[in-house]
């Protein structure tokens, strides 16, 4: 299994407490390099909390989250980095990041983890194109020489901006929004806004794309379109995807790896096929008592 052999992201014993409430309790899993990993679970299972921990919006109470750009985190190196107190270490090709130590913007910029939000967070007053350009902020900031050189109008910045527009145009083409590039993001229909948010996250050139319920509110046709888009991202860009989803048609069709959470605890972890037949998962979704789980497994209960 890729998530065991070459994990891009390895979550170890992640716990998040809010006062007396334990939202995530000792959860460990890996997200394989190049995989589409889905996190599913009933409402309030702690899925979004896991996301917020990974992307740095919450500081986890305890646990370690290792992002390894080449997908081969040597355990000695990880242990050395953990002891050193540093946030990340680059050794040639490989780079290791301890996400629990990094602030959110650094996780996006350095560890290259991008995310979307459950309630869409586009820059509504800016055009679709501008949204995609803002996502390339750090590249453009370097090219503009921390604003000073760009203010003078050096060709280096002009070139970088042109490249950024080309990249934005590519993504607009891919999500079918080229014709509406100059319209404000807030005026786009809901489904387009969802796709634009994914494109915006991809414009920041991530290695791991975290999608929080990307299919929420989409009709079946749009859902199928989303599946194709995610498959394209996985195939052509080599970006690994971690997604939270309730729509089982999306989860079962595209996921290589499914993790099931319930009440902040991981109850199942494996391929889509494995999870589908796991009695614990069925029980969680159908809502049966603990003593009936065995019965579900034997097929005695529906």
């Amino acid at each position: 299994m890729r998530w065991e052999e070459a994990p891009l992201l390895e979550i170890e014993h992640l716990t998040m407490r809010f006062g007396g409430l334990v939202a995530v309790n000792d959860v460990s899993f890996g997200a394989g390099r190049g995989d589409i990993t889905a996190i599913i679970g009933p409402n309030g299972a702690g899925k979004t909390t896991v996301f917020n921990c990974i992307t740095g919006f919450y500081k986890p109470t305890s646990g370690r989250m290792v992002m390894s750009h080449t997908g081969n985190a040597v355990s000695d190196e990880v242990a050395a980095l953990t002891l050193s107190g540093a946030r990340y270490a680059r050794r040639g090709e490989n780079a290791l990041f301890l996400l629990e130590r990094m602030p959110d913007h650094e996780i996006a910029a350095k560890a290259r983890v991008a995310r979307t939000f459950q309630n869409i967070r586009l820059f509504t007053g800016m055009t679709a194109l501008e949204n995609l350009i803002v996502a390339q902020h750090n590249t453009l900031m370097d090219a503009s020489g921390w604003t000073v050189l760009g203010l003078i109008g050096l060709p280096r910045y002009t070139r970088a901006e042109r490249a950024a527009i080309e990249r934005a145009r590519y993504w607009l083409d891919l999500i079918g929004l080229t014709a509406r590039a100059d319209d404000s993001a807030g005026s786009l229909p809901y489904g387009d806004q969802r796709r634009l948010e994914i494109a915006r996250a991809m414009c920041s050139d991530p290695l791991l794309l975290c999608l929080d319920e990307p299919a929420a509110g989409l009709n079946p046709r749009e859902s199928a379109e989303l599946n194709r888009l995610l498959k394209t991202i996985q195939r052509e860009h080599g970006t690994s995807i971690l997604l939270i989803e309730h729509d089982m048609s999306v989860v079962m069709e595209i996921s290589d790896h499914v993790i099931v959470l319930e009440y902040g605890i991981k109850i199942s972890d494996g391929t889509a096929e494995h999870v589908r037949n796991d009695p614990k998962v069925i029980a969680a979704y159908l809502g049966v008592g603990d003593d009936e789980v065995e019965a579900v497994a034997k097929g005695e209960l529906p």
Partner: protein, 473 residues
């Protein structure tokens, strides 16, 4: 009072309704207007009844309600008009119109001193160039500076005048400091500092103000909305109180006088032989300096504008606007919001500092009285009325608000009607408030509400102000 269900109220009904209004007005007037506390000769508090004034106010309330109702009655019988104010509310400025307006405005501004000279002569034009031209341009510059913080980055700053004060005092203290003067005299020569002091102190004052912008920025980074507004307001007051109380350095309430005036790139504006007038073979007149100051602030304001327009098209400017739209999304895209906020505070404050240094050089005298909260409020009102983020809107709002105030001084003839005690400028704040209310009803997003995108694929289309967020300030 349009609409199908309109019931004519009739004269009697209107009179009855107006009586109720009058009663209400009377109830309100009794505690506020009828009895006035005053001091008599022996310094004792006495109550002075004012029945005439109370009656007049009640009568006004009755009459206006009565007329209003009758007018609405008469209005309601006519077929309902289709469009009420959408012409005004939907007014947008296309990029071409904006460009034409800007070019026309620029030509007018550069010709303005000559125009006023030609129209009202040398004696009358000092007022027009100084009170109207320079005064308005200072506020245009301040408005554009604050527009970076409030309009672009969406951070509500109620203490902007602090940076104006820092710039003014930095210039005043540096330029009139004997130690600096002596040091420069020894280093380069005694001629140097009087001639070039202004041109060195001006950027220094701006940089110092920007530095204070960062100092303010740090503690307020995590604050949002009302909390941010209150802390910035407090910052403005702290600076003012320091200026008042640090008497050794700032002179306290007395302020600093005898601030060196700017020279024409080394040539002083005086009647001496090396003066500006003598060098160019002109007859000496104080008007030269006024005109020079006008062009100086015009250039400073234009620099502010050009830099802002360019910054909007750079990543830092786009990050400001993205920050105004959604800070959390910014962070998820790897934008360091700390740095972004600090640059907005620093650059906005820097322009405020430039304007302050110019103000000190022009006034020749500064005191803490010039840097009260009211100034911050006026500058913020200019930005909000103009339309947050719109450069042209801010300029128009500054002209209307500051020019309007100055125009009130011109209404001396009103004294013939209302008596010699009547001072139209006393009603400045009342008119400000009224203008604010009217504009906020008609154009809740300011005069120019639309946002121009910074780049486009096919066509540049303005974005409706309804979609643009105001930020979390």
């Amino acid at each position: 009072m349009a609409g199908g269900q309109h019931q004519p109220i009739g004269v009697l009904g209107a009179a009855l309704d107006a009586c109720k209004t009058a009663l209400l007005a009377f109830g309100l007037c009794v505690p506020i207007v009828l009895l006035r506390t005053d001091q008599d000769i022996s310094n004792q508090l006495i109550l002075v009844p004012r029945p005439g004034l109370t009656l007049a106010l009640v009568a006004i309330a009755f009459a206006s309600r009565f007329i209003w109702l009758l007018a609405a009655d008469w209005h309601g019988r006519r077929p309902a008009r289709v469009a009420r104010v959408p012409v005004l509310a939907g007014m947008t400025l296309s990029p071409e119109a904006a460009r034409r307006f800007a070019v026309g405005g620029l030509i007018f501004l550069f010709a303005y001193p000559m125009l006023s000279l030609a129209l009202v002569g040398p004696a009358g034009s000092i007022k027009w160039i100084d009170n109207f031209g320079i005064q308005i341009l200072i506020y245009v510059m301040l408005g554009w500076g604050l527009n970076i913080v409030v309009g672009l980055a969406g951070l509500l700053d109620l203490g902007y005048v602090a940076f104006y004060a820092v710039g003014a005092y930095a210039y005043a203290l540096l330029a009139s400091n004997d130690v600096v003067k002596d040091f420069m005299a020894e280093l380069i020569g005694p001629w140097f500092w009087p001639a070039w002091g202004f041109w060195i102190c001006l950027p220094v004052a701006g940089i110092l103000a920007a530095f204070w912008g960062i100092i303010l920025g740090f503690p307020v980074l995590r604050l949002r909305g009302d909390y941010l507004a209150i802390v910035t307001l407090a910052f403005g007051e702290i600076i003012r109180l320091i200026l008042i109380n640090w008497v050794d350095v700032t002179g306290g309430y007395a302020g600093i006088s005898g601030i060196p005036r700017p020279s024409f790139f080394g040539l002083p504006f005086n009647a001496t032989e090396d003066g500006f007038a003598a060098t160019f073979g002109l007859e000496f007149t104080p008007l030269h300096r006024t005109i020079f100051l006008f062009y100086l602030i015009l250039v400073l304001a234009l620099i502010t504008n050009v830099v802002t327009i360019r910054l909007r098209r750079l990543p830092v400017g786009r990050a400001w606007e993205a920050l105004r739209e959604d800070e959390i999304a910014c962070r998820s895209l790897g934008i360091n919001t700390t740095n972004t906020k600090l640059t907005a505070f620093a650059i906005g404050a820097g322009f405020g500092g430039f304007a302050g240094a110019f103000f000190a050089a022009r006034q020749n005298f500064i005191s803490p009285e010039s840097f009260t909260f009211l100034e911050s409020a006026v500058i913020l009102a200019i930005v909000v009325l103009g339309g947050m983020g719109s450069q042209i809107g801010v300029a128009i709002a500054a002209i209307a608000m500051i020019g309007g105030t100055e125009l009130l001084r011109e209404l001396e003839w009103l004294k013939h009607i209302f008596g010699a005690d009547f001072d139209p400028t006393q009603y400045r704040m009342l008119l400000f408030g009224l203008a604010m209310v009217i504009i906020m009803i008609w154009r809740p997003r300011g005069l120019i509400a639309n946002r121009q995108p910074t780049l486009f694929l096919a066509t540049r289309r303005a974005i409706s102000g309804d979609l643009v967020k105001e930020g979390h300030g």
